[in-house]
Amino acid sequence: MTFTAFDAWWWPYLFILAAGWLATDGFRFLGVYFGGRLSEDSEALVVVRALATALVAAVIGNLVVFPSGALAEAPLWMRIGSVAIGFAGYLALRKSVLFGILIGEAVLLAGLFAIGFTG
């Protein structure tokens, strides 16, 4: 039952509804149901946030180490290097997300230009 398991046009949409919408809005609706009866600082929520953060970080790691498309043609050291320098810039410049992104992209583009990248 993967995303490409069936040839029908509606299957990917059903997949997105079940694995995406239901799994996301379900937790929003749960929040409305609970109203003001759940504290932001409870220990269980620390665990929940740790699991969610590790999960999204795993996706990021995969996007850098095993990218798709044109990025896959860039050398691994350059991908990791530009992300690392972008993150260092973010930390150095008052934790500005915008600067972090700009620095990382600038390093990647400079590197690609230097090696004469053509995809």
Partner: protein, 253 residues
């Protein structure tokens, strides 16, 4: 600061006026940053082979960007429907406490529950941050209209952004295409670090970054779940361990 106050029950024109103010609040620096993240997402979606219609559908229906990136990651790694749903659910549990803290601010005496359920769909990091920041200046009876304007605008602007970028991504030269695909990792690396409240989340980020690619090789199809559960649990335990150790060394507190 006292809550602004409407003398009488709001009428239609009040709702309309505050809805439009919500629309205006949406146009902000956080929205620009969010748009750059959706530009990256559109490029990623195109590379992963899902169609324009599916990408737009996903953007509107799921809305939270981490959930969508996890869903794309699961699709790309060939995960089955239950595994993909479980991974997305794990990334979306954090929305519950966000909604819980927003609802008491949003609700007026006469607000019907169905309105709150519908509006909760707009909750994701950016709209939540903007709402918590500005809602104090909105009279309580029209807050739902205001948040509808704010959240609806963020969704609409980004759905259009995603559609336009998806169509343009096909004609980009390889160098810009590579840069486009780098946007999502850069955005999440920085914004996740910034939004982490406690050390446990910082440890979790480091563990997840390393374990994701490792499990991608070891257990393809379950890589995200495995990295999330193993990395997240290890991070929490490390957090407990460090806290206990500091507690002893520093004599409590």
């Amino acid at each position: 600061m006292a809550e602004p106050y409407l003398q009488v029950d709001p009428v239609l024109s009040d709702y309309r006026r505050w809805f439009l103010r919500g629309v205006r609040t949406a146009f902000s620096v956080p929205m620009l940053i969010l748009m750059s993240a959706f530009v990256g997402f559109a490029g990623l979606a195109r590379e992963s082979g899902i169609s324009l219609g599916q990408t737009v559908f996903m953007t509107g229906m799921v809305w939270a960007l981490p959930a969508k990136v996890v869903l794309l990651g699961a699709i790309m790694s060939g995960a089955s429907l239950p595994a993909a749903a479980f991974a997305v659910a794990l990334s979306s549990v954090r929305l519950t406490p966000m909604v819980v803290s927003l609802v008491p601010e949003l609700r007026a005496q006469k607000t019907r529950p169905v309105v709150l359920y519908l509006l909760s769909h707009f909750v994701a990091v950016t709209s939540w941050v903007l709402a918590m920041e500005h809602m104090r200046g909105v009279p309580r009876p029209v807050r739902t209209a205001w948040y509808c304007g704010l959240g609806g605008t963020l969704v609409a602007v980004n759905v259009v952004t995603v559609a336009v970028v998806y169509m343009l991504a096909g004609v980009l030269p390889p160098m810009l295409s590579a840069a486009l695909l780098m946007l999502t990792p850069l955005y999440f690396l920085t914004s996740l670090w910034g939004s982490s409240r406690e050390r446990a989340s910082h440890y979790a980020m480091v563990f997840g970054l390393v374990l994701g690619p490792v499990f991608h090789i070891v257990t393809p199809g379950f890589d995200l779940l495995a990295a999330g559960v193993v990395g997240g649990s290890a991070a929490y335990l490390l957090h407990r361990f460090v806290r206990a150790k500091n507690g002893r060394a520093g004599g409590g507190a």
